[in-house]
Amino acid sequence: MKPPRPAEFKGPAAPARDVADGHTADRPREAEGNATSAHEQRLAEVVAEMTDQITAGQSVDLDAVCREHPELASDLRDLWGAILVTDATGAVREEAPKASNTPRWRGLRLPMVVGDYELLEEVGRGGMGVVFRARQISLNREVAVKMILRGRLASDVDLQRFLAEAGATARLEHLNIVPVYEVGDVEGRPFFSMQYVRGETLADRLIEGPLPQRDAAQIIATVARAIDFAHRRGVLHRDLKSSNILLARDGTPMVTDFGLAKETGNAESLTHSGMLVGTPAFMSPEQAGGQGGEVGPASDIYSLGCVLYHALTGRPPFVADSPMLLVLKVLEQDPTPPRALRPTLDRDLEMICVRCLQKPADLRYASAGQLADDLEAFLRDERILARSGRFTQVVVRLFRETHHAVVLENWGLLWMWHSLVLLVACSLTWVMQQADVTSRMAYETLWIVGLGAWATVFWMLRRRMGPVTFIERQVAHVWGASMLGVALLFPLEWWLDLPVLRLSPMLGVIAAMVFLIKAAMFNGSFYLQAVALLGTAVWMAADPTHAHLGFGIIAAICFFVPGLRYHRRRLRRSRSDR
């Protein structure tokens, strides 16, 4: 069966504006007879309404509409099938596989001479362009020529930058880096020529299954050395993946496509997923999410870890149905431990792999050279470096920021205000307690009305700063829950016949819970706040007279310190953005 031909619609042959004048031509016909024209107009409106519904994805009960407009029934029944069919066609068309993005190179008749090169056959096609086996005419040597798709480089400035960058990588001379011979452009279309390597890519090899572990370690160690060489000359690869590692006939691994994946504006790389960056499966979190993290040598180390993982288990660390989901996994999930997929795998090798795949860049190897050292140590059955950092790494990970912490920059100033409000509320409570106020209503008004009003203001201030993210909604819910808890303390005291303020130590417990949750969401250092507040709760029970003042001070500090820190960070960032 053949897929639908791309419809040969004549496209915008009739510009909208010219058409817009057309409706004056409709008028005389409408004037033919008032009765028919009223009927027609009525029919047109009902049809428009029904069509609106189906184009919005709702279903329409034709019989019901016909009962409602019996005078239009026969016309409606006559037309409705055609409308449904047309609409379904539009939908089918959308699902149909998109035409290739590379129409211009598609129908290339080979061999064909482009500049100094005679293109002989197409050997590969990637997100960036098409690779040909070619003959360089002037030197009469076999080369690979990669034609870059113009669409990948948005502007001339991009093109210039690409050429400059590719030129820099061309100067890398290393046994395990595919040498670039020439960078240039033909008819505004950038290309570069490089050594033609006979062999296969690591990705091709891995289709048959994972590699023996020592082979994998050897290949990645060699590649890591080459990458280290490039890093020391200031060149990042940025798009390391199994398909960018060529295995020559004699087994020598060679890295190709250096520095070609340009700095990818992250949101954009998502929408163009599968083009600019190929698959995000080998991309580091800082490349995938780009919040705060700088793309640097550590990003290549992460990608090397992915390649190692792929070589050892036969699949990349993260697999998902769509690039978007994949990116979320790269940002948020830890990969399945390699030994879960391949139980016979050496524990040390797994550790090396996991060390590369750490989400925070500073927890990975400090350099590709270190990774190579460790892999070579493994091959010599020596003690590896990755093993040493195990326990401290767990602790460090526990206490560091998560990638959601950026959200807190929106909240810094508000947290500082919040600390003030808490301090005021607690001090007032303390003063009232000292003055022997025993009315439950007085305290309840202070806490429920006062804090409730502040919560509303807080949320409105936050809303004004821009769209509220999903994670912030979660925090808002946690806060809401804590407010409920606090508000319920007073009725409970009354219900249990306890003296007023007897349940106040619970304030500490509730606040500690909030920080415990926030520690998991944002920043491990909040565990400290949680502990401090729990301690406060105990102390409040022991010393009820000063309990509220103490709680107010501790809670205020708990909010003020991170508030100040994140507010400052926001200021720094907005300054550097400018």
Binding site: E8, F9, V19, A82, V85, A88, G151, R152, G466
Partner: protein
């Protein structure tokens, strides 16, 4: 099945507010969110022959650049919904592109082969619709669907420019009657009337097609 062609409008509204307040991030996100749809629109509506000569990405890029340049003017005086405004820019660019490449495109059009119609499709349009809408699809069904779709597309192709335009806006871009009225600068009743006429002609063409097919069957 939600068939929104353009991004969700509440979020767009939020971003527009942000853009108006001078939030660059909002501007970027707004344009970025619409890039995909614009691309789809260009792929769908720009003449195929012209598409072989220009990169869709280049057209999309031109559109996005112009949109970002004119965005502030738009925000000061938003005469129509944002996606319709953007669509208008895209449309103008497609017309320009078409005019620039029309001559060379025509040359190839002459060599175009007639569209082969699948035989044996004498079902009523209702049955066709049933088949096209069936959500559980086997590969054979999908193939059949595509065949039917090409049938309908052939009919759409035979429509006059004005009729084809409104049918495609309706069913390919999923625009509502109001949006179409806005985009074509008509009043809504006139837009609905134009659509009614287009659908009538389309229905007639579909009927003739299936009659032709069944006659062909009888002869053979």
């Amino acid at each position: 099945m939600a068939k929104s062609f353009w991004p969700q409008s509440d979020q767009t509204a939020e971003l527009l507010v942000g853009a108006k307040q001078g939030n660059d991030d909002a501007v970027n996100r707004l344009l970025e969110k619409h890039r995909g749809p614009v691309r789809k629109l260009v792929q769908m509506r720009l003449d195929r022959k012209v598409q072989q000569r220009v990169d869709v990405s280049d057209v999309v890029q031109e559109v996005m650049v112009e949109a970002s340049g004119r965005l502030q003017d738009y925000l000061k005086n938003p005469a129509m919904a944002f996606h319709l405004w953007l669509r208008q820019i895209a449309w103008d660019h497609m017309i320009d592109t078409y005019r620039r490449h029309r001559v060379s495109a025509k040359r190839n059009m002459d060599r175009e082969q007639a569209m082969a119609l699948p035989a044996g499709a004498d079902e009523s349009t209702f049955e066709l619709a049933g088949q096209l809408c069936d959500p559980s699809k086997t590969p054979q069904q999908i193939a059949a669907q595509r065949e039917l779709a090409s049938h309908v597309e052939a009919a759409i192709h035979q429509l006059g420019d004005q009729d084809r335009e409104i049918v495609m806006m309706r069913h390919y871009e999923h625009l509502s009657n109001l949006e179409i009225a806005e985009a074509l600068q008509l009043n809504p009743p006139a837009a609905s009337m134009r659509y009614l006429r287009a659908v009538r002609r389309l229905r007639q063409l579909l009927e003739e097609q299936s009659k032709d097919d069944s006659e062909r069957l009888e002869i053979s």
